[in-house]
């Protein structure tokens, strides 16, 4: 095991010795900071002002103003009813609205997990194929270590990299959010919209879910890219295919959703959010257990294909 950790350590050293890795990390920090600054200074609709002691009256006045705006301006009909309903929920349940804070900012940044997926795909697509590109694969595979172990150490390294990115992004979001918007305590409750109306939940739970669901796509697509690059030794092809599928996957499923076999498509199952907060699953008859099984099957097929290609192949040419 000690020896396996050394392999992972080697992979991490190689990863962080490359400039491209640091560019990814700096980009994430810059984007987090950038969106924070944009939201703070140019954002509209972010309630950074705290409501006063007579917040009920303030909310009623706000709703009246919004309703009036809707009569005058037809475009206001898109966003205003949502705010009005939310305000009514506060009034009915006697909850004083909290101002926008760093926790909510962290929660909103869950959308950036697709950026993490993108970067992890790039790393996953290169970690095996680059050894072939550099020619170092020949020196790597003539050590008293099985190919299985070397491949596994590379895969674990990809996951470790994803985890590092995730933690960095969470930390950056939390710090930027806290500095720009402040924090409403250690674990404030927020009001979120669900399919059955509004509901008060813990922001930590929401953050965990938001990022957790994002990680499912990340792990699946990174594993996919890892497989493609191991089989075809081409990082470009692996990156292209994985990103294309990640973007087009949902559209693809929607396109064929009238057929019952469509629920076996990977992308019908990557969004586990469809089973939470009272949402309807994408295709009728799907359950959480079903999706988890399908995900597990794809996961093992990807890894088995990569393993077969890597352990059986003749290392020839350059």
């Amino acid at each position: 095991m000690n020896n396996f950790l050394k392999l992972v350590w080697n992979e991490q050293i190689k990863l962080y010795a490359q400039k491209s890795t640091w560019i990814m990390i700096v980009l994430i920090a810059a984007i987090v900071l950038g969106t924070g600054l944009l939201a703070k200074f140019m954002g509209s609709g972010i309630a950074t002002e705290e409501y006063g002691a007579d917040w009920q009256t303030e909310l009623q006045e706000e709703n009246a103003a919004l309703a009036k705006e809707m009569e005058e301006d037809e475009f206001a009909g898109f966003a205003n009813p949502f705010v009005i309903q939310k305000n009514e929920y506060y009034l009915e349940n006697d909850i004083k609205p909290l101002p926008y804070d760093g926790w909510e900012y962290v929660l909103e940044n869950a959308a950036l997990t697709s950026l993490l997926s993108l970067f992890t795909i790039i790393v996953a697509a290169g970690i095996v194929s680059n050894e072939f590109k550099w020619g170092t694969i020949k020196l790597l595979l003539i050590r008293p270590i099985s190919r299985t172990k070397i491949l596994l150490s590379k895969y674990v390294s990809v996951l470790l990299f994803a985890l590092t990115l995730l933690v960095s992004m969470l930390a950056a979001s939390w710090i930027v959010g806290a500095l720009l918007f402040g924090l409403n305590g250690a674990s404030p409750m927020i009001v979120q919209e669900t399919s059955s109306g509004f509901e008060q939940t813990s922001v930590l739970k929401e953050i965990l879910q938001g990022y957790g669901f994002g990680m499912v796509t990340l792990v699946m697509m990174a594993t996919f890219a890892f497989m493609i690059s191991t089989i075809f030794r081409s990082s470009g092809m692996a990156i292209g295919l994985a990103i294309f599928l990640m973007m087009a996957g949902n559209a693809l499923v929607a396109f064929v959703s009238q057929y019952s076999w469509s629920k076996y498509i990977l992308f019908a199952n990557t969004n586990l959010g469809q089973y939470f907060n009272g949402s309807e699953p994408m295709i009728e008859g799907m359950t959480l257990a079903f999706s988890l099984s399908i995900l597990a099957i794809y996961f093992f097929i990807f890894l088995a294909a990569a393993w077969t290609a890597f352990t059986k192949r003749d290392i020839a040419g350059n």
């Binding site: 020896n3 050394k6 392999l7 350590w9 080697n10 050293i13 190689k14 010795a17 490359q18 400039k19 550099w134 020619g135 170092t136 020949k138 020196l139 790597l140 595979l141 003539i142 050590r143 008293p144 270590i145 099985s146 059986k312 003749d314 290392i315 020839a316 350059n318």
Partner: protein, 307 residues
């Protein structure tokens, strides 16, 4: 060549698709021996080496390293091997030192001291802390040899080790290799398509052509003193010397510029010269053209055709 076999090839075959690439190689390499693996480009040298180190599957036959099969007992067999396969490719973004540390972590028991020792041995000095991407080909070769020596292998395989080196670099590598074989009892396998380069460092040379071993020669037999060699003698007057030697030695003697070319044994040379001088001719120089393995193997190898 007393000693135990460090590596044994037994009917080694490789077929890719339907095409036989290696058609059954059988030979042994002894500990402390430098073995030259010679053949034109495309003869199957690199394929054979890739099978020796387990980078390629063996279609038929086996390679035994210190008695362990590379096919069935990869880890036990490969731990005795250090190798450079084709070019010494390194991670360009890591320093030479970090490249070595990387490989050191992959084998048990390679200490920091050992890394320092190996760096010293190949003479990389301070350059070891520069990025390998900035190394010249010669420095990369040295780093390549360093990574192959880290774990004190009993078999060292070097694929075209003098590629891209200048003459002084080649001489140095030759010196390391001889040293390793003689002092550390390492079996060294050196492949090359240039015979003139490896005949100087090898004890034995195996010639491969189109996937078949066509000759194994001990280099020493070629240095046989009783063999006839071409002796070039710069002498004046030329015609007189030629006539005299032709009658004396009963052979047709060629003239090349100011030299006579006489075919003679080493032991006859002083006698010839004495006679020339005694007959009042001026001898300005004598040189023996080494009969190289090149001549010997040229017919075997033929032209450098890749088929």
């Amino acid at each position: 060549m007393a000693g135990k076999a460090a590596m044994t090839l037994i009917g080694l075959k490789k077929t890719i698709g339907n095409k036989p690439i290696i058609k059954g190689l059988t030979f042994e390499i002894q500990a402390g021996e430098v073995f030259g693996f010679l053949g034109p480009n495309g003869a199957g040298k690199t394929t054979t080496i890739r099978m020796m180190v387990g980078l390629m599957d063996i279609t038929e036959g086996d390679v035994l390293i210190e008695g362990k099969s590379i096919k069935d007992d990869f880890k036990e067999a490969i731990r005795h091997v250090g190798a450079i396969v084709e070019n010494p490719e390194m991670y360009p973004f890591l320093s030479g030192w970090k490249n070595l540390q990387h490989y050191a972590r992959m084998t048990e028991g390679v200490s920091q001291e050992r890394i320092k020792e190996v760096v010293e041995l190949v003479g990389l000095g301070n350059a070891i802390h520069e990025k390998a991407g900035r190394y010249s080909l010669g420095m990369r070769q040295r780093l390549g040899i360093a990574q192959a020596l880290l774990h004190k292998p009993s078999i060292l395989i070097l694929d075209e080790p003098t590629n891209g080196l200048d003459p002084s670099g080649i001489r140095e590598i030759r010196k390391y290799i001889r040293n390793l074989a003689e002092k550390e009892n390492v079996a060294v396998i050196v492949s090359s398509h240039l015979l003139s380069e490896i005949e100087l460092m090898c004890d034995r040379i195996g010639v491969i052509k189109k996937g078949e071993l066509i000759a194994i020669e001990s280099v020493k037999t070629v240095e046989d003193h009783s063999a006839l060699k071409d002796v070039h003698i710069e002498v004046h007057p030329l015609e007189m010397a030629k006539d005299y030697l032709q009658s004396e030695m009963a052979q047709t003697i060629a003239i090349n510029k100011k030299e006579l070319i006489v075919s003679a044994k080493r032991e006859d040379i002083p006698h010839i010269l004495k006679n020339l001088v005694n007959r009042g001719m001026d001898v300005y120089g004598v040189r023996i053209l080494q009969s190289t393995l090149e001549d010997k193997f040229f017919d075997l190898i033929g032209e450098n055709a890749i088929e």
